[in-house]
Amino acid sequence: MHLRFDHGTIVLSDLPSGIDLTDLPGVMWDPRIGALRAPAMHHPALRDALDLRGVRYTDDLDRTTGLVGAWTEPELRPYQDDALWAWQSSAQRGVVVLPTGSGKTRLAVAAMARVRCPALALVPTRVLLEQWLRELTLAFTGPVGCLGDGQRRIEQVTVSTFESAWRQMDRLGDKFGLVVVDEVHHFGDGVRDEALELCAAPRRLGLTATPPRGPAADRLAELVGPTVLELSVGDLAGRYLAPFQLVTLRLDLDPEERRRWEHSVALYRPALQAFQRDCPGASWADFTRSAFRTEHGRCALAAFRQSREILSFPSAKRAAVTALLARHADSRLLVFTPDNATAYAVAREHLIMPITCDISRPERASALERFRRGELRALVSARVLNEGIDVPEAEVAIVVGGTQGEREHVQRIGRLLRPREGKIAVAYELVMRGTAEVAQSRRRRAGLAPRQSHLL
């Protein structure tokens, strides 16, 4: 019998007669080619099952090639060392949950160095792609490949964006022995999961500060492995992370803004409530898809957008941002907005550099560097700064608004927590009284509560 990689799947051909192999992990009969086929992620389990049954086979997938290059293994803090040990004990498959700023990339580099096999790192954004390339180039003497942001260079150690990995894993999935997934919470309930299914790498390490719960967590365990260690901000703040204060400023809409907001809400809420009655348990995405089909629904969606626009940067938030920027005139600040339009409004009014998807990658990199050097005192962003970006100098955050809930909030606050001598981080959250923002604020703060430190 023969196993070969075929576009993100394993084809089992030249089947031995008299043995039923259709119950092997993930295997199905493919009438199109007259052979058995399984998603590539089942490759290790397939080999184990065939060995157990004593079936002789040849296998095209050979990832034992020595690395062309050497690793410098970084020094680890005690909790990072625990995490690596826990991952290795879990057959080198699993998710490590550590807060932002606690050195997840360093842990990943240590894992790659320890395993010493071809490795692929997956990252969600182009900015992180660049950051990982920088880190890996420092730790690995061989060439480091890059997939995404217009580049397509495959090496034994390669970094890829999620999007490029999803598009190209059917051609790459047999080339790596270890796959590291940064911000792994993006997997577990979406089409991008297929990137991990199309990959035959037996060793898998997921990293996140905000693990998914419920069915997505189960799916993630199947794709990457179980959670092997989990620590929260509260567990490391003060020792390994900068201590921080979270201040919520409750503000009022002015009478005209209040009138317009109430009018918008009165337009969309009945449509939403009617939909929820008809389709209990349906998601917001289901509502928008359904609403888009009718004129009435489209009006409801337009009213919803208008209500969000009113809350995004009303006069009280404008005044608060002005006051806070003046109060922290000597500090390095990050301003987080709900959307790009608000980011540009803040940038125009306060002459703060925006970091958005519209600003080119070299200019963003240059701005981050100037912020680190102190030549820029503040940055404003809606999404780009949310995840992974290293800005250890930031001390103060102003959260003008957000759209992504608890996970986004934890990630944003995490930007402040990279430790520095004598640093005490402060995060201000601007919330409009008597609006949906009050409940949103309560929900997103839950993600910052200390959890019991534990090895799982």
């Binding site: 993100g8 199905m28 089409v191 005139a329 940038a347 102190g374 005192r377």
Partner: protein, 386 residues
């Protein structure tokens, strides 16, 4: 790729009918194109707003589709006194140095350094943002062209949500199969009712396990190629608005075609066709003759050749050039199974094929870089003599 919200189609039970643009849509499409023309020199965001305004007689979904195509094809320029990136670097650095100084003073001081007006510097700060760039006259002015391009995008967007595609077609089958295979799709081919007709079942390897959108782009890319067949009918199993539906496309649908598929797979084939035509003027050479059925599969010979005076003395010629070992083994196995008596196999000497791998019934000519038409004619003469 067209976003799901811009797919305009009518759902009737389990069937999705694309709402293609046609003659009746031209009056309101003209209004939109004129808006693009008028918006030249204004920020793109203004053009976006104008194209969103309801136009008399325009169905909302179709208008959104055309607006998307027009904006996607729109050209723009940056108009600023200093390059925006430079303006940002100067102004934001100055603001960081003097955090309590009023905004207007900082801009005025920076503008004086740059020797431009403060208002010009303020305007330059974000003049390169997508919405702030100035629109240029539209690239697509012909309404027919605009409709065909919009329809193609619509058809491709529907196919991008397909899991499996069935195609019945006549003519240029090989080009469609080649395109599908090159895009990593599995293509099961069977004989159609007519001589060169064929049925294709196209899907991706992973589609065996799940309804996946992984192959959406590849499946969508088949649409413009199909426009080069004599006749086709495509049925796709798709998911549209969370519902499983069937989409049908066929010859006559108003879809923008791709550029004509390449007539030859390789330079070797192209050169052989040319050389053979010159060396054997008494012979006819036919590129891509009708396919041959071999069990469940079809074989597409590269050429058919016969003396002009005697079409019954017909030979099929297959060139095996640069392919993977796996593909070559599969191809030779099919040719062996086919036992075609009048086959000439031209084999690249660099392909490591043993005599035992070759079909017994065929004539084999080995070549290096170029196939000698004289060698082919000699081999045919020898075979016919026997």
């Amino acid at each position: 790729m067209l976003p799901a919200s811009l797919i305009c189609c009518e759902l009737r039970g389990r069937v999705a009918l694309p709402r293609f643009l046609g003659e009746a849509d031209r009056p309101w499409m003209r209004v939109l194109v004129d808006e693009c023309d008028r918006a030249a020199g204004h920020p793109i965001r203004e053009l976006e707003a104008r194209l969103r305004e309801p136009v008399s007689g325009a169905p909302g979904d179709k208008q959104r589709l055309v607006a998307h195509v027009l904006l996607g094809g729109s050209r723009s320029r940056i108009d600023s006194a200093v390059p925006p990136r430079e303006a940002r670097a100067v102004v934001f650095s100055a603001a960081a140095r003097e955090p309590v100084r009023p905004r207007t003073e900082i801009i005025a001081a920076c503008a004086a350094e740059q020797r431009i007006e403060p208002t010009a510097l303020a305007a330059a700060l974000f003049a390169d943002l997508p919405g702030e760039r100035l629109a240029m006259p539209p690239a697509i002015l012909d309404l027919g062209d605009l409709a065909l391009r919009s329809n193609l995008l619509l058809a491709q967007a529907l196919l991008a949500r397909a899991f499996t595609v069935h195609i019945s077609l006549e003519g240029n089958t090989r080009a469609v199969v080649r395109h599908a295979t090159l895009r990593g799709l599995l293509c099961s081919v069977s004989h159609g009712k007519t001589g060169d007709g064929a049925h294709l079942e196209v899907s991706g390897p992973f589609a065996l396990f799940r309804r996946t959108l992984l192959y959406g782009r590849a499946l969508g890319s088949l649409v413009p190629v199909l426009a080069w067949t004599r006749r086709f009918r495509l049925e796709a199993e798709c998911e549209v608005r969370l519902r499983p539906v069937t989409v049908t496309l066929a010859t006559g649908d108003p879809i923008f075609p791709s550029t004509e598929p390449r007539r030859f797979d390789s330079q070797v084939e192209e050169r052989f066709a040319r050389d053979f035509g010159r060396a054997a003027p008494a012979w006819t050479i036919i590129r891509e003759p009708e396919p041959l059925a071999v069990g469940r599969h079809l074989i597409f010979p590269d050429f058919a050749i016969h003396p002009r005076s005697d079409p019954a003395r017909r030979w099929l010629l297959e060139i095996v050039g640069f392919w993977t070992p796996e593909y070559l083994a599969q191809k030779l196995q099919r040719l062996r199974e086919a036992r075609i008596p009048n086959l000439v196999l031209c084999l690249d000497e660099e392909r490591n094929v043993g005599e035992g791998d070759l079909p017994e019934t065929c004539k084999v000519i080995r070549y290096r870089r170029r196939i000698d038409p004289g060698a082919v004619l000699a081999a045919l003469a020898e075979a016919e003599f026997r």
